[in-house]
């Protein structure tokens, strides 16, 4: 079914003709291969900068929230209320010495951070942040969103292996074992949404929710599974045993320093952002909402989910490794199989 939105809400962001710039023939981008390449490059730069800036914001928010929870003040010295603290930190990280252990494997040591950060940012291509607005609406967008970040598992293992350090090695094995374990229930929970949508395109996802209702109401169990497993995928507390500082120093990135270390950090936050944004698209109707423009709704909903993750980090203890794996395989996987069955019934009931 077609969704009827006011024109000013539903314009196609990729079509720059709404700018009415007299000197640019905007269809040019779509007609030539180098135009598309440039367009992709442009969006890549934009998304990357945006994610980088957002990460700086998160770090600040996270410090302030943790301070509030623990009865401290948090950063206060640099700038008003310590607002400039993360900026200063970024500069510090960028000009810090880049130490690579002599025994490390040079190729894998350099490749691993890129394998963590690039897929996380690339996943953003298919996130529908407006009502029909997607950076690029692939035919198989939802699968793309799950497939591309799955490369991160390789990056985690490579980082641990390349460092030639016992802590890193263990941390890398644990991190990727956890990553792959939680990937299955997470993917299965998305399958239920695809069943209701009837398409793998992420723009159709929003239209389907406009036709019926937010999928969180139809598939509450899928939503719970998705959120918990996503927290595990991005190594957030209570699932951060790979980086348990009390036993493994810093896990797989123990040997990394300076900017390369911050790439891991960036990758973690970038995947938190994309996963939360996609959770909103999957279960909360993306930018659907009254009065305000869709983009605003979308950002608000995403911010709520991310804030939830931040608060969770400072309120829950950490799982043990064996509990973590048992949780994935003995609880979440059977639960998500049952959920498939439930979703089939819901689907038959609704349509």
């Amino acid at each position: 079914m077609e969704v009827n939105w006011p024109d000013w809400l539903g314009f196609d962001w990729l079509d720059l003709s709404w700018l009415e710039l007299p000197w640019i023939d905007t269809n040019w981008f779509h007609d030539y291969w180098y135009g598309l390449l440039l367009l992709g490059f442009f969006w890549g730069v934009l998304v990357f900068t945006m994610v980088g800036a957002l990460t700086a914001v998160y770090v600040y928010v996270e410090r302030k929230v943790s301070a509030r929870i623990q009865g401290r003040l948090g950063p206060m010295e640099t700038g008003p209320h310590g607002l400039l603290q993360t900026l200063v930190d970024v500069v510090k990280l960028a000009v810090k010495e880049d130490v690579r252990p002599a025994a490390a494997d040079a190729l894998a040591f350099r490749l691993a951070p890129l394998l963590v950060v690039v897929p996380a940012v690339m996943a953003f291509v298919v996130v529908p942040f407006g009502v029909p607005m997607v950076i690029r609406d692939l035919n198989v967008g939802i699968l793309y969103f799950l497939a591309v970040p799955s490369v991160t598992g390789v990056g985690l293992l490579l980082a641990g292996w390349a460092s030639y350090d016992n802590y890193s090695f263990l941390g890398g094995l644990r991190a990727s074992a956890q990553f792959i374990s939680y990937e299955i229930p997470r993917t299965l929970s998305v399958v239920t949404v695809v069943m209701l949508t009837g398409s793998l395109s992420s723009a159709r996802l929003i239209e389907a929710q406009a036709d019926t209702t937010w999928f969180v109401l139809l598939l509450p169990l899928s939503f719970v599974i998705y959120v918990v497993t996503t927290l595990a995928e991005v190594n957030r507390v209570p699932f951060d045993i790979p980086e348990a500082e009390s036993e493994l120093v810093a896990g797989f990135h123990t040997e990394y320093s300076g900017f390369r270390w911050s790439l891991f950090f960036l990758g973690e936050y970038a995947s938190l952002t994309t996963a939360s944004a996609f959770a909103v698209a999957l279960f909360f109707g993306g930018g659907l909402g009254p009065v305000l423009p869709p983009v605003v709704w979308f950002v608000l909903k995403t911010a709520v989910i991310i804030f939830f993750a931040v608060v969770l980090r400072f309120t829950l203890p950490r799982f043990r490794q064996d509990q973590l794996m048992a949780l994935a395989w003995k609880y979440f996987l059977p639960l998500s199989l049952v959920n498939l069955l439930l979703a089939g019934l819901v689907m038959k009931a609704v349509f």
Partner: protein, 122 residues
């Protein structure tokens, strides 16, 4: 149709190039600003300041591999469900049953692994 896919590939290539270049840019830019004084001690593995006594790359226990094994099988299953699930909405009960048989077949593997204790972290 296939023109649209071609456009997708070019777009994603451009996006990927941007994604690869941007993280590497600061590394190259600050190369000559940041201090670079490697020393033998600094380049040792960290290990909480203790001298490394065992080589980290040694055969490791099998529990990890059991999980990886069950993982790959279930990954293939979910992926095939992705192929089938978009058409299920307008499908008959018979089609649902066909998909159900497939799920039950693979779920047996999980049941087997569970019963054999392969899912226990040792």
């Amino acid at each position: 149709m296939s023109e649209e896919l071609l456009a997708d590939v070019f777009f994603l290539l451009g996006f990927g190039v941007a994604g690869l270049l941007l993280p590497m840019l600061p590394l190259l830019l600050f190369r000559y600003i940041r201090p670079q004084h490697p020393s033998a001690v600094k380049m040792e593995p960290y290990e909480s300041g203790v001298v490394q006594t065992t080589a980290p790359r040694r055969p490791f226990h099998m529990a990890y591999y059991n999980f990886a094994l069950v993982f790959i099988v279930f990954e293939v299953e979910t992926v095939l469900l992705f192929a089938v699930s978009p058409v299920l909405r307008d499908a008959s009960w018979m089609d649902l049953l066909k998909a159900g048989i497939f799920i039950v077949l693979v779920a047996d593997g999980l049941f087997y692994a569970w019963r054999k204790g392969a899912l226990v972290w040792k």
